[in-house]
């Protein structure tokens, strides 16, 4: 009995060690992948056409989803906050509160999570299926650098497009919030946006914008990594797509935490 227990304990311990090892190996692989990106992004040839195509697919095609989500986010956030602020008689603080919350935190994080779901999983599935169908291998054979053509263009596109998507998302969310304030609190649009811009400072907008580049980079990096190193078979594609979303979401929160921490140091928020 005692022997069985010790064997079970050993098996569990080995499994944990294996998983930890796999986790650190994956992080190491991801770091090498990121390093390879930075090494190759500034070297010729530059795949501008593919980059523009990816920017279009990741930016323009995500705008509707980001816009609708942002609008509902602003609407719901204002509706939910109103009663609490009304209890304190602080309804006039609504524009500044919503403005700061959306610009600093909620807008970038929610938009990044939506993009992680849409873009990250898309990249993972696309590259995964290319790996499974040996298209990537074929590209290597034909002399095209698949990393440059597939990975660098996608990561660059997500890095550049996400900040713009976040700006749109923030603006639409604020517009949604202004509509509720206009309908429920009889606050004019001019007054609402005046109060929002009175409250927001550069120390709010600059860290959020810098953070959004990192969010975009993380979405592209994890999506490409998961797809590029996809396991064989159709199950591998699904797993790549799924794990791309999960890992990206986790990484987004880690980046957000670091960003807030650094912003607190440098901007005294």
């Amino acid at each position: 009995m005692n022997n069985l227990r010790s064997r079970l304990f050993m098996t569990q311990s080995l499994r944990i060690v294996e998983r930890t090892k796999a986790f650190f190996t994956e992080i190491g692989d991801l770091s090498f992948f990121a390093w390879r990106f930075f090494r190759e992004v500034f070297t010729r040839p530059f795949e501008f056409q593919e980059l523009l195509k990816q920017c279009y697919h990741m930016g323009n095609r995500s705008l509707l989803l980001v816009g609708v989500t942002g609008f509902i986010l602003g609407l719901v956030f204002t509706l939910q906050s109103r009663p609490t602020l009304m209890e304190f008689g602080a309804e006039s603080w609504m524009p500044s509160m919503v403005g700061i919350s959306i610009v600093r935190e909620i807008g970038p994080v929610i938009t990044a999570l939506i993009c992680a779901g849409r873009i990250g999983s898309g990249i993972g599935a696309e590259l995964g299926s290319m790996r499974v169908t040996e298209q990537i291998d074929a590209m290597e054979v034909s002399g095209t650098n698949p990393f440059k053509y597939l990975v660098i263009t996608r990561i660059t596109a997500t890095t550049l497009m996400l900040p713009i998507l976040i700006v749109f998302g923030d603006a639409i969310a604020l517009f949604g919030s202004a509509i509720i304030e206009n309908l429920k609190g009889a606050v004019s649009f001019q007054l609402y946006f005046n109060q929002v811009f009175d409250a927001i400072e550069y120390s709010d907008i600059i860290p959020a914008t810098i953070k959004s580049f990192f969010f975009g980079f993380a979405i592209g990096l994890v999506g490409c990594y998961k797809g590029y190193f996809c396991k064989k078979g159709t199950a591998g594609v699904g797993e790549a797509s799924n794990s791309a979303v999960v890992y990206t979401s986790m990484l987004l929160f880690v980046i957000d935490f670091i960003a807030v921490f650094l912003a607190d140091i440098f901007f005294e928020i």
Partner: protein, 325 residues
């Protein structure tokens, strides 16, 4: 290829719009923080800035006109607050304006309020230092409140002692509240007072009626007060009386002179008035006359009964009787 061109156009619009939105937001924020306009720098010296921070608003007559750009501590009791004010507003702020630090609302940020004064001094220029005024801070208010609380506690303790004494029936108030006899007396007194007030009320009503009748001119007083003819007569009477009194005064003056002359003069009247011997003589003479008259009456009575004159007196009586008939 056609599809790619369309995609490029859409992407271009997307990127340009997004960038413009970001730039507009950045410009709007910067504009509100007076980063793009021309500003003037003015200073004010405080002893306590009550948590004022860089970037807090500066208000002049309730309008946001700038920001706090620097807070510098000179020594343990002097803090210089530097403010960036929009140049367009600077010409309205006079050199004798006063800066105070207050809170924007009950729980709002701290702000610097520049209060204008009614003067014709020159407007401030960059680098000027304006006067400051330290308002009472929250700490001071809390200290005052603390003292008030202590006083309130003392007052409550005293009040408790007083109420205990009252409840125990000690002192005038205690007696007043607890003594049933006094309460009954008081009740009676109140009853009497009520009666007296009722009587007074009736009297006032009657008086009112009288005054009303006087006003209407129904009584003598009313006629006197309201009739203009009587008034005129009265006026004439008073005038005559006045004249008469003047004359009386004149006469009395003359009389005084006469009396003085009589008193001081050497005539018969003075002798008559002032000589006591003469008065005695006259008195004795009058007594003699009185006695003489009495005796004369006796003689006359004797004559009536005398047989020589009795006939004459009878005749006189008969004639008198006839006349009376």
């Amino acid at each position: 290829m056609k599809k790619t061109a369309s995609q490029k156009l859409k992407l271009g619009v997307f990127v340009v719009l997004g960038t413009m939105l970001l730039i507009a937001a950045l410009y709007s924020i910067g504009n509100r923080q007076n980063l793009f306009g021309s500003n003037i720098k003015i200073m004010s010296q405080f002893t306590n800035v009550n948590g004022l921070e860089l970037g807090n608003n500066v208000r002049y007559s309730g309008i946001n006109v700038g920001l706090v750009s620097k807070i510098k501590m000179i020594n343990d009791s002097q803090i210089i607050v530097e403010m960036l004010i929009r140049e367009s507003v600077g010409k309205h702020i006079k050199k004798d304006a006063v800066a105070t630090i207050s809170s924007d609302g009950l729980v709002g940020n701290m702000i610097v309020n520049i209060i204008p004064r009614e003067s014709k001094k020159l407007p401030v220029v960059s680098g000027d230092t304006i006067q400051s005024f330290s308002k009472i801070g929250t700490d001071d208010m809390l200290t005052t409140l603390n003292v008030t609380n202590e006083n309130a506690a003392l007052l409550t303790a005293d009040l408790l002692k007083i109420t205990t004494k009252i409840i125990d029936g000690k002192g005038t108030l205690g007696l007043l509240i607890n003594d049933s006899i006094m309460a009954r007396d008081l009740k009676l007194a109140v009853y009497e007072l009520r009666k007296a007030s009722t009587g007074a009320s009736q009297t006032i009503t009657e008086l009112k009626d009288i005054i009303s009748s006087i006003n209407k001119g129904e009584s003598v007083a009313g006629v006197l007060l309201s009739d203009s003819l009587s008034g005129q007569k009265m006026k004439t009477m008073v005038s005559n009386l006045e004249q008469s009194s003047d004359e009386i005064i004149e006469v009395s003056k003359n009389l005084n002179v006469v009396l003085k002359d009589i008193k001081e003069g050497k005539g018969a009247l003075n002798y008559l008035a002032n000589d006591p011997t003469l008065v005695n003589n006259i008195d004795s003479t009058m007594n003699s006359i009185k006695e003489g008259t009495y005796r004369f009456n006796q003689n006359m009575e004797a004559l009536k009964h005398n047989f020589l004159f009795r006939g004459y007196f009878k005749k006189m009586e008969k004639q008198k009787k006839k006349k009376n008939r």
